[in-house]
Amino acid sequence: MKCRKCGGKAAINMRQHKLSLCREHYLEWLPEQTQRFIEKYRMFSPQARLLVAVSGGKDSLGLWDVLSRLGYQADGLYIGLGIDGGLAYSSESQRLAERFAAGRGLRLTVVDVAALEGATIPEAAARTQRGKDKPCSVCGLTKRHVMNRAALDGGYDVLVTGHNLDDEAAVLLGNTLTWATGYRARQGPVLEATHPGLVRKAKPFCRFYERETAAYALLRGIEYIYDECPHAVGAKSIYYKEVLNQMEAERPGLKLSFYLSFLEAKERGLIAAQSDPAAAGLHPCTTCGQPTSAPGQCAYCRTWERVRSQAVRTLEGGQPV
């Protein structure tokens, strides 16, 4: 297969675009497209201060690389979750994120959840109803809260995440299967800061297939963590991605069209904004002050308070935590 631009040997074929490109032209194409999406969805201006949430994976490190190359002021945020899973998963991903930042002279802030709240994510999950079997729920809740707080405290204009099209299509499929209309109303390339205390969020990679962001990281020579989070095994999001990929194999472009049709429907007002929980009225959490739709404390403070009280109870019972 030949590169459409130069006729050289292609490194990647994107069947949904009927486009194959060599290494050099792909490394030009992806940042150009990223810039196009930033402008199309009015994500942020060239002057904006960006905080990129980095996990040590292909998407977030690839995105940080692209934003830096495009000339944006982009700092990184790494959240240490304390996940081991026999792979030293968190420590290895932190090492890769730090190495990436140091090699490019970029600024990375590291927030360690155990230092901040007194327990790692797997410990917290084991002590609460939120994910006794799977820590993904408490993990997502914690990352969302810490990212929002770090972005606000650091004075950043936009929090940027490396969500790709497969992430977005899988979430959309899940929310459609369960008719979670409120979440569908909020999903999109940009999440506006609808309330004081909420940071604006943007997903500049939201139209790239996951294999394209992986190809970018490989071709750019970015060292990222290949291992999957050990707790993601059997996750619903992975199942939805596999189902979508089965359809994509027979119908190239189906995932892209699923997501773009949704955005178009949203643009035309076909997804009711009043079903968005954020529109239902937010108030400050009585403990941390971050906006929440829950009465009193936000889910984050409630969950971590329970985690700490469980630790105290265990200590009082004479058992080591």
Partner: protein, 73 residues
Amino acid sequence: MTARMTLRDREYEVRSGMTVRDALRQVGLQPEAVLATRQGELLTDDEILREGDEIRLVAVISGGANGVFDEVP
């Protein structure tokens, strides 16, 4: 007349002379879910596997709590 493909700790032996895409399907892998490399070079899925090829497959699917970022705190 075989080629070998590895994905993390799994190994697959396939016939050489077939395309990467066909080889992936034959061993039950989704072509959309992996990238194939030969000696560090990224291959398109119409690449013909050669006798003795050692193909390293890179999984591209990641999962977890992606949807929660669209929720309010």
